[in-house]
Symmetry: C2
Subunit: 249 residues, 2 copies
């Protein structure tokens, strides 16, 4: 496949997309998603894993709230991955991930994921390129396991924002008292490593592409939500599910 | 305290409650709950545990969807407890419960709970009255532990429906193709044990009352949702939370 160059992809919606029209369309999709999730739960033949990746303030939390918040919380689980604990570090890097892989019937959301083990670790030179390559191979094998052995649909989203938009959002975290808790002094230091992060992401897109990535232009929340919701809708509809009849005894 | 006699409590809303007015009121409460949950998550000083109990088809799932579905799924977790697995049975009955107790910042919902270990087990004579009493003491101690040692607010709801309403809902599960998957042949056998269940519940209300129960008249969903949402709102407001300021380094 052609490699993805993030600099060549716009972080904005295409010019001919109308905000209000898209918001209305998204509202309709969210209603359909609610039904599809109920069907997924009822049928319990397929699992769904949604991976959200992106730089700080790229809108992962908002996407969870708006898109996944529209479905029944009984069938939607959210796992945020932070820096690994000492116990987690005493295992292979996929151990804590595998433990929360979705069972059939469930939509499991990862807010950050095993990809951090080839992103932040790589940018900060905690692992070298060779180790990154070996890990990416392990990630492909792991994702294949979930697909083939538990009928798991995997969707991977990269929230694509511009460094300017990020800077503005981080500033807002400092000035808005209801957002200060999200701010971390380290965030601006991380932002300085922008190009290194982009290179690491592009490497993920190239080498972990058995399950393809969706690059989501994410400077505008309404467009981001539309892309994620519609991608999820298409994936669920492809499963061709139906309500089970009465149980036979 | 005066013991609760379920037969003396109506399963309906008080006569002077207007459905449309209450629905509007509930919508307003749900918006406030969304803010309060965000604050709980941001502050991360308190945990919240919500226990939903009730007979089959008493509307637990609907309450989860409507009330708890209005909040950010990142901070709301739902755990449904089914018949224990062999591994779970090889531990004390609170082992699997403790494992999913809420951390600070999180609202954890139990769809059924440790109370099944003094309800279904007791009605089916898997445990005797003496064991039930001992377990209820252990439950009180456990709930106290969560309250005192992790600043956990515990809310316990009993969905109070009439046997007639239950029968109608179970019939609907048979005739509606989108609901047949919820139907279990055993449901009607369980319904025959109604009085035994009511006695077991009343015993719980009496002996596990350190954290008081809310008996929710649940024949009408709009009233049920209002009671749960407003009880949760009051409990969260009592925590007197505030957004943390900028982290000091």
């Amino acid at each position: 496949m052609a490699t993805i160059k993030l600099k060549e992809i716009s972080t904005l919606a295409p010019k001919d997309f109308d905000k209000e029209a898209i918001k209305e369309k998204t509202a309709g999709i969210l209603e359909k998603l609610d039904d599809l999730q109920n069907l997924l739960y009822a049928e319990s033949k397929h699992a769904v894993l949604v991976i959200l990746q992106g730089m700080d303030a790229s809108g992962k939390d908002g996407a969870i709230r708006k898109v996944f918040g529209a479905m029944n919380p009984q069938g939607v689980r959210v796992q945020s991955f932070k820096a690994p604990t000492p116990e987690e570090l005493s295992h292979d890097f996929l151990w804590r991930i595998h433990a929360v892989a979705p069972p059939k019937g469930i939509i499991q959301l990862f807010n950050r994921s095993h990809y951090e083990d080839v992103l932040i670790t790589r940018v900060h030179k905690i692992i070298d390129d060779k180790t990154a390559k070996i890990r990416m191979k392990a990630i492909n094998d792991f994702e294949q396991l979930l697909q083939e052995h538990n009928s798991t649909t995997i969707l991977k989203f990269y929230m694509h924002i511009s460094p300017e938009e990020q800077k503005q959002r981080l500033q807002e975290r400092i000035s808005d008292p209801t957002k200060q808790w999200k701010y971390n002094e380290r965030d601006f230091d991380e932002a300085k490593l922008w190009d290194d992060y982009m290179a690491a992401y592009e490497d993920c897109f190239e080498h972990c592409n058995d399950v393809p990535w969706t690059v989501v232009p994410a400077d505008q929340n309404w467009y981001k939500e539309y892309i994620i919701a519609s991608t999820l809708q298409k994936a669920l509809e492809k499963l061709d599910m139906e309500y089970p009849g009465l149980k036979k005894s």
